[in-house]
Symmetry: none
Subunit: 407 residues, 2 copies
């Protein structure tokens, strides 16, 4: 056997029934002929990325699904986002995720995403490399309004409060140390100092003047959260003996992949949004199957539609994903796993702890009677209700790659 | 969202197929239109209160279902029964559950429940407050033949053997220390002393003379077991942020509720037996939904019928429960969870490790195809087979109250 493994994760895929969709979920209501073709030779079930009823963020969900117990390996969202931008991290770094935002003169938030600015890398040069009392601040732009910030140089602690009011109209707080250790006090104080300097830079930045001319909200402040230190993960190859690669647009997933020592396949046209070039992503995966044992494909926008409460958009986007997945139909010597990392029900506009459907599709498996990939159909499948930590063992087993336990 | 949560636990609900019920279980064979209405908008499954095949007592089962790991939090049945009688416990107390029983002159058990005496509080005054060498014995009557006994005053250990032959015709043993520590030796010796004194009191008690006149077995001895110290549970509110209350007749459940800091709603007519005023209990729950986030409703008699092997009685009682549950049909902004704490198959006349059906009923959930609440129907539901520790996370999630895991 020794099949290749392709793990397709559709972010926030799961949902709850929508009255306007005849009581179906967006996935259940979507026309998904290619997912059905995959399901035809699949073992199906339901997946709780962490555990029954647990409502996870994407970072801990994917770590657990890849076999990295969050309790042991999760060191914050910031460092994963930082790795996702391509930054190399060093021991002792304190890392944050950053939103470029719009605030008023009172530091009250006007827009947490600066009008969903399409590219904040235009500010990178002036904000990167600023030093405060021997601490260097490294800033790297991600997709859209997102960026990563790294503090480096002296002993610092990630025990600092986040600088984000999480709501328009509320004043942005200052960073405060969350412990009594001097390293936390230093980190909070220097971070506040950096943000003041950054504010001055952004205020007079030519791109913001340009945005104001165009009546666009200026990207005039940095909202900073998710403090953490670089994660220490055994590599995927070390852990499973798999040569692995990742196709993703979003920084977080690229960061997790890099943390696990996966190759991140560079892509044009993958935006992490609904305009993402899905076909290019799936084709990139397919092309690379000969080169790797394990490929992780992440699609972000399903989650965005859930957060926006746009169930029609979510359904239509799932249909676009299905169209692109045509490329993965009919593969041999490959186990294609399709699932989500959590549910983002449109009516909740937030993550929930409802399980997501999962299928393991491949030749010669115990195909069940599930014909349509969906939340309630997959509940009838042969896999049952499994947990994130079961995904890799199950995939390895079905791919003929599971190590023997016992002697 | 933020729905209220109502957890209905029918004690010993689960059963095995009965030939005389056409191969159905009492629940499967019962006419339960209101449970069916709840099931119509529910996610259904099977529940192992502790784990697959584990045959639990009610105390550890309900602790686990409420999220209190028995390995960590269970300190014996006695203290829970004591709390259930309304006693306030102090650190260092050693608590027992007590049966008022009938013994002969040789101390051989004639009836472990003194003819299921309806009220043993008539003996309370004379048995409560007796002192033995500086140890005060607090006795409080519960329902029927049940009472709680607390030893208080000097250092004592709960490591003492039980004083119960568990069978008619067998002599009641003396308490023996189960460890070499002086505190255990003291506890056993003082307890034996107390029981001798209690025997003298009971022998000449006017209510026993009255019972003998009426040809009723006298309540002339105390069977004492379930030794333990007061449990130390983090409160339900602390643990989940839920303001909670309990409606129950039986001491154990009231005790667990009190140990968890729940308000125990006082009730008339709830007896823990088949004549219990079920409607009053369900109405008490319904009335209190506006005042609490979480309501626990416990019904005891399903278990009694199982222990008695009375499958027709169990089926009929389930139909009575169903009638009362009418009050919980059609609620909005509420997740109604119906389940049992364990199975008590009539043919076994004892607890078994067979899972019990469970449903989570509420608006907007992923309702499945289960139409009838029953052991084998629920096995086809979307929830799958879950464990006691999953009940609260699942309920919190479906009620829109799950905390976010990750950042």
């Amino acid at each position: 056997m020794n099949s290749k493994i392709v793990l397709v994760v559709l972010d926030g895929l799961g949902d709850r029934p929508i009255v306007a969709l005849n009581g179906l979920t967006p996935l259940e209501s979507a026309r998904t002929p290619h997912l059905s073709l995959l399901a035809e030779k699949a073992e199906c079930g339901l997946l709780d990325a962490i555990g029954v009823g647990v409502r996870p963020t994407s970072d801990v969900a994917i770590l657990n699904m890849l076999g990295y117990l969050p309790e042991k390996y999760y060191s914050g969202r910031g460092p994963l986002e930082a790795l996702g931008t391509g930054l190399s991290l060093k021991e002792g770094d304190v890392c944050f995720r950053v939103n470029f935002a719009t605030v008023d003169s009172q530091l009250k938030v006007v827009d947490r995403r600066a009008g969903r600015i399409s590219d904040c890398s235009v500010f990178e040069k002036e904000l990167n490399g600023i030093e405060v009392e021997g601490v260097k601040f490294v800033l790297k732009a991600g997709l859209g309004h997102r960026a990563a910030l790294v503090m480096r140089g002296i002993e610092l602690s990630p025990s600092v409060s986040e600088i984000d009011s999480h709501a328009a109209g509320k004043k942005v707080p200052e960073a405060k140390p969350l412990s009594q250790e001097p390293a936390a006090k230093r980190a909070a104080s220097f971070l506040n100092e950096y943000l003041k300097k950054a504010r001055v830079v952004l205020k007079k930045h030519k791109h913001n003047k340009e945005r104001q001319k165009q009546k666009l909200p200026p990207a005039n402040y940095l909202l900073v959260r998710g403090a953490g230190t670089p994660p220490k993960l055994p590599s995927f190859e070390e852990k499973y003996g798999l040569k692995s690669a990742c196709v993703a647009a979003e920084g977080l997933y690229k960061g997790v992949a890099r943390a696990a020592g996966m190759h991140v396949i560079p892509l044009n046209g993958a935006t992490g949004k609904s305009d993402s070039d899905l076909l290019a992503k799936v084709v990139a995966v397919k092309k690379n199957i000969p080169n790797y044992d394990f490929l992780l494909l992440h699609v972000k926008a399903t989650d965005n539609f859930g957060h926006d409460g746009d169930f029609v958009g979510k359904r239509n986007f799932i249909e676009r994903v299905d169209g692109a997945l045509k490329e993965l139909v009919g593969l041999h010597h490959a186990v294609v796993v399709v699932t989500g990392d959590h549910s983002t029900p449109c009516e909740m506009r937030d993550h929930s702890g409802d399980p997501v459907p999962i299928m393991f599709s491949g030749d010669g498996l115990r195909k069940d009677n599930v014909k349509k990939f969906g939340e309630r159909e997959c509940a009838k499948g042969i896999v049952g209700r499994i947990s994130g930590k079961d995904v890799m063992p199950e995939a390895l087993n079905l791919a003929g790659r599971a190590p023997l336990f016992g002697s």
